[in-house]
């Protein structure tokens, strides 16, 4: 389910999210790596999260308790 949810994300959006969560990179570092503005990094990660949460709502709610 997680793989499917991640696969549905735009490739760059997914990369940004994974850089943040999986690799612990800061927003500035991600901006540099992706060639994006800081604001775009924040927007893309925020959107990735919204998409991911929508897909995994039940699963994540369980983990969040």
């Amino acid at each position: 389910m997680l793989d499917g949810a991640l696969a549905d994300l735009d490739h760059e959006r997914r990369s940004a999210l994974l850089m943040r969560i999986d690799h612990g990179l800061g927003y500035g570092e991600i901006a540099e790596a992706m060639g994006w503005s800081l604001q775009k990094v924040k927007n893309e990660i925020h959107r990735a999260r919204l998409q991911l949460r929508a897909r995994l709502a039940g699963y994540l709610e369980e983990g969040a308790r």
Partner: protein, 212 residues
């Protein structure tokens, strides 16, 4: 305290906050439903994403390697286009192997907030290196073709194309400079090459059509 920012909450969730900062934020979170919920989401995300099982990619490597090492024999234009397309396919295979979303072969127990960025499986690294080298070679071929056609182009069109290519090359160089051995960033570099090659291909096709 006022509500912590999202980045502060993230830092707590990712274990990147200092003890004092984390304690203050945790103190606020305990009494704030919204922040408590957000922090719980962030922690759940972290747990899920970091807990993904390692990706099995071994079976994909022979195919990827075969594509990357395919000899180039056709010296004509169609071949040049095919090089770019073939390299794109090879990179797509690498993408499939490396990023099909699953963890990079780096999944390590989380001992620190900042995870290992360099522990790439050697096969992954080798495939990325080969794909990048192939992209570079394809770019050289297409750049050579452009140099050959450029004198026949409308000067203004040629100037605009030059600017486009220069900008693309600069972005590529910047991405490559920070990529190191980070798989995600290396993939981004390959994406950059793919975009650059597409620009070159479009340019050549337009040039050929304008000057048959």
């Amino acid at each position: 305290m006022t509500h912590p920012t999202l980045e502060e909450l993230e830092a707590v969730a990712l274990g990147q906050s200092g003890d004092a900062g984390a304690a203050e934020i945790e103190g606020h979170v305990k009494g704030c439903t919204d922040c408590s919920r957000e922090l719980a989401w962030l922690r759940a995300e972290r747990t899920l994403l970091r807990g993904r099982p390692p990706l099995q990619t071994t079976h994909l490597w022979p195919g990827v390697a075969a594509r990357l090492e395919h000899p180039r024999r056709r010296p004509r234009w169609a071949w040049r286009i095919a090089v770019a397309s073939g390299v794109g396919a090879a990179a797509a295979a690498v993408l499939l192997a490396v990023l099909r979303p699953g963890p990079l072969p780096v999944a390590q127990p989380q001992q620190s907030a900042r995870r290992e960025r360099s522990a790439i499986d050697p096969k992954t690294l080798a495939a990325l290196d080969r794909a990048e080298a192939d992209y570079r070679n394809a770019a050289k071929v297409l750049e050579g073709e452009y140099d050959r056609l450029r004198p026949r182009l409308d000067p203004e069109l040629a100037r605009r194309w030059d600017e486009t290519l220069t900008r693309a090359r600069a972005q590529l160089g910047e991405s490559r400079a920070v990529a190191a051995d980070d798989v995600n960033v290396r993939m981004r570099v390959l994406d950059g090459y793919a975009g650059y090659l597409r620009s070159l291909r479009d340019l050549l096709q337009e040039s050929e059509e304008a000057n048959p």
